[in-house]
Symmetry: C2
């Protein structure tokens, strides 16, 4: 605790410096006159965000909760400092460089999720996992659509659809982390949950591509009706992109990594890995899909074996190449997410009601997963509970919803966005204790 106070003191000092920097406008103007780009403002912003992320992460880890929630909560606190009269951090929310840093962070996060999921084990995932995943996507979309239509009767159909899609997400990271902490990683239940979570990722990304594409086509054609043509086009595009990215992207990626093997130039492995990831992420966006779809595919096709030529790093896991970069950029995404949550909207009982209804729909929606388990004698309820946390994937959906525009109006209003963040927090917070309870009857693995 005393250790955290050191970080907290430094954080407070940095916030003070930023306030001072904004007050003393002479400085920045002087720098502007001098003609040299001033970077200290950005550097301090990054320091504030990183310190907040680590303080939040440490606090929540101590409470046996996922670190990502801590990043979110600290971000929410920083983002609402104006309630305490400190307005210096308001610029964080729209600073283009910070937003870009966060975007790259989430690209690297999905790349790492892809690296962790192995293509072979993904293809070998049993029928159960696939059925569990499909049920766990269909049910929450339906329930989410219903809740949204009930609470927001004046909103367009695509708002309800996006709300449903946000409820469909499952966070592999949080589920895996909890099962690992419980030493239940190798139970059949765990394997089904994790397999389903991976299938879920792919389904979720396709849904995101479809919904975003639909909204783009509304913007282009300005017709508010659902037509099957564009939906099929986007599903087709996503599937074709994923298949091509996995086949051609994997081939080119291995060629590129091979070209750098045995090189004496420093940082070759990192740089070529980043090039591989950024190329596929950029290509996905160029084709009208989300860049994270490409990043996930980029991670999926690489295996440890592709780094065999880089002899000096044979002893460490290849994931660690990107880890130092992502551990700086990923927290920027989540803290910024928290920063954008407006605590004012919680004073609105309507927002709290929506958040509660969405959370109930999110939890019930995933319990349908238990019906998809084909094997007998398994703890079906545990599987349904294991699929509950929305975590970072839900947040990514919520953020897309808040930034996608139809006729100049965001799909998710600030109120809906806040309610979605609360739903993500409730589902993510509820899972670890529930899982612990459900698995506590059985003996732990060696």
């Amino acid at each position: 605790m005393r250790r955290l106070l050191v970080l907290l003191a430094l954080l407070a000092f940095m916030v003070f410096l930023i306030s001072y920097g904004h007050g003393g406008a002479d400085h920045s103007e002087g720098a502007a006159e001098g003609g040299h780009t001033s970077v200290y403002g950005f550097l301090f912003q990054v320091v504030v965000i990183l310190l907040a992320a680590k303080i939040g992460g440490e606090l929540f880890e101590t409470m046996k909760q996922p670190a990502v929630l801590g990043e979110l909560v600290l971000g929410m606190m920083l983002g609402n400092l104006q309630l305490a009269g400190i307005t210096a951090l308001e610029s964080f929310k729209t600073d283009p460089a910070l937003v870009l840093f966060g975007e790259i962070g989430v690209i690297l996060l999905l790349f790492e999720v892809g690296l962790e999921s192995n293509l072979k084990s993904l293809l070998a995932v049993g029928a159960s996992a696939t059925i569990v995943a499909a049920l766990g996507v269909i049910a929450p979309i339906g329930l989410g659509y219903g809740v949204s239509a009930w609470f927001l009767p004046d909103a367009a159909w695509y708002v309800h659809l996006f709300a449903g899609a946000t409820l469909a997400a499952t966070s592999v990271g949080i589920t895996a982390r909890v099962l690992k902490d419980l030493r239940k990683m190798h139970t059949k239940e765990a394997r089904i949950i994790l397999g389903a979570a991976v299938v879920d990722d792919v389904l979720g990304l396709i849904i995101l591509a479809v919904v975003s594409g639909l909204i783009s086509s509304i913007n282009a054609g300005s017709s508010g009706e659902i037509s099957l043509g564009p939906v099929m086009l986007i599903i087709g595009k996503s599937v074709v992109f994923l298949v091509v990215a996995v086949l051609a992207g994997g081939y080119v990626g291995r060629l590129v990594l091979d070209a750098g093997a045995k090189s004496k130039v420093g940082g070759m492995a990192v740089v070529l890995t980043i090039c591989h990831c950024f190329s596929l992420a950029g290509l996905a966006e160029l084709l009208g899909l989300a860049p994270i779809v490409g990043a996930f595919a980029a991670g999926l096709v690489l295996t440890e074996r592709d780094y065999e030529g880089y002899t000096h790093m044979s002893h460490e896991k290849f994931q660690e190449i990107v880890a130092p970069i992502s551990s700086v950029l990923v927290p920027v995404f989540f803290v910024l997410m928290g920063l954008r949550v407006d605590l004012h909207s919680f004073a609105d009982i309507h927002v709290l009601e929506l958040a509660a209804a969405l959370s109930v729909a999110a939890i019930i929606g995933k319990q349908v997963c238990a019906l998809g388990v084909l094997e007998k004698g398994l703890n079906r309820i545990a599987i349904g509970v294991g699929m509950i946390p929305r975590g970072e994937v839900g947040l990514i959906f919520a953020k897309y919803g808040a930034s996608l525009m139809v006729a100049g109006i965001p799909v998710f209003s600030p109120d809906v966005f806040s309610a979605m963040v609360v739903m993500v927090m409730i589902t993510t917070l509820a899972t670890p204790p529930l899982l612990k309870l459900l698995f506590s009857k059985e003996p732990a693995e060696a």
Copy 2:
């Protein structure tokens, strides 16, 4: 060679994609209408820069030349593709996000230089190293001032002073790398060269702070005369900052690192190290110094021992924490540097003459260093030659000169900037073969 062709083909494909992206303006406008920030343009830019950096680095390493020169040359080629009718890369030169990436890259580079130089050995550096360094700074400043005044009679005194300051820089990195390759790292000559290079770094940063500060004060007061007051103020500020940064910054940095030790939250070591570096770099700039001064100080105060609490990384050198990040960001700085060199200016005989004169002044200026060696029986000429390469430090000075403005006019015109880059390339290219020749008489170390 065939391996490099793979990277070259991917580079060409990316340049094509960027050209296509610019041509097909529908895409970016569509994305803008959709309201979502489009990142693929930036991702592709980064991929192009990183591939160019690694191709250049690999080519030059194969020719036993420093990789940084390759990054520069490939950058020059990319930056002048409009001569071949390809204009898509022109936007690279002024893209604010890329410029920011490069700025952070150079901050991390100086942080790493600081990490490599140990404060103790810096203080313990013999009298010889200090005298060698001082002579190696004074002589090039005088010669550089003279050459600049001769070739640019109409320019103001601060142009000449900045030209002299640029000639004073020594690149620790390149010198150390060549001596290491020659297995001469532990000779007395090598130790004096490296010690002097470290002192040189500190002197160079103080000179940069002084010259930049003078130019700022000219902008503020608009008097073109030299007055001793501001000069002394800036020297005082720099020295006080360095001392305070080393004492207080070191203390706070260790406190912060200690606060994160034993944490289970991932990426704690990287994130806190970055916070330490960015804080001091930002503070330096807030006080009117260059951010790299703060970054260097931040690196100087950290030692391997400060990471003892991070048990899971005890087996690797702590420098490697930042290496993956810097190996992505540092090349951005050097490739952008090359991009800004206008090959048109080489058609101007005046630029080539200036470049030749500056190179001669740069080489002769460092030979004065030999006079500062107190010990007898040493290869004095080798020490003078070892100080010749300007490398990345000279480039940093040249870039500051090109971006600092007095009354809306840059201190270094594009012509002078190009001449400076040529000078850096000549001095850096000349050193490895000369050193090899001078040391070849003696037997190599075991």
